[in-house]
Symmetry: C2
Subunit: 198 residues, 2 copies
Amino acid sequence: MRQFLVVGHDAPTDPDFSLDDIAGGAGRLDVLCRCVNSAFFLSHDLREDVQVHLVLSDEYTVSFSGADLRRLNPDERSTAALIRGALEEKREAIGHQPVETSPGVSLYRMGFADTFERIARDATVVQLHEDGDPLPEVEPPENPLFVLSDHHDFADPETDLLADATDRRVRVGPKRLHADHTITVAHNYLDTDGYERY
Amino acid sequence: MRQFLVVGHDAPTDPDFSLDDIAGGAGRLDVLCRCVNSAFFLSHDLREDVQVHLVLSDEYTVSFSGADLRRLNPDERSTAALIRGALEEKREAIGHQPVETSPGVSLYRMGFADTFERIARDATVVQLHEDGDPLPEVEPPENPLFVLSDHHDFADPETDLLADATDRRVRVGPKRLHADHTITVAHNYLDTDGYERY
């Protein structure tokens, strides 16, 4: 399975934001929505063997599971609506018990560290980092967990945790990309399995 | 220069659509907006040496020029607003003379064939096609023009024109991707120049 953990530092934790302003008032939720798109969509198909975890301001995490996902559309607005719908039920997420708010979409009352611990156990943790090894030089892991940040750099506690827990540091190219574009490149790399003939 | 020509078969030609419904009533304009995002955005930077041409229902073409672009933001809604703004001035696009409707954004009264003729002259025409050669086996051209379709296949006249005019047919991987993801992979390929050490 391929997992993507995306840290949204300014993302909303209340459902009172407007879908007309997800790139403004909703703390750049558009960035996270595009990551969900890149992680799941193929042309006229969905990647079932993928999970995406969006950390919202270190308080909540919305997890998307490709095997169970329904009602996901490619546009940012409808994905933001799914996230807003999850936050509308946040009172139901008690302790570390999640609440499934739409098929394949669950809300956890967990910040970055708890989510990381929950999902990293059987995974190879891959940090996307500008000083990492070039992607083509890295043997594709079987169960990668890619950890990415939104439009901000990782915060210090996140950096510290990742310094201990990362199995591989990788960069996807000579240019710094948006998180969603990085996901697309990582998928393509794994799809083509080291760029042998396909 | 890298150019991307994206054919929007259902895209609006009137500015009377709602920004709240770009994935529905506005003929999947969201697909084209994501292509603009993938073509131009780097992390905290813009690719200046890029042009994107969106063909709208074979009647108009909106061209974005990275060297002159201002006011482009990554989210779909604001890009849709730029396209709507261009269509609001369509009466000013007389004959083949474009009208610049925002810095770096011009509207042409041209469909696919005329736009293709306008932009293909000094370019290597690369058609993304599922029967094409794998991207890593193709020497990166200096001035590529990538021709892509939205969520539909190319229409017959487009296919015929491309059959004659295409220099290379390429596929980006074993899976069929959305147009915007294809652009991201193509950029990454050109950035890393055949995956030598970067």
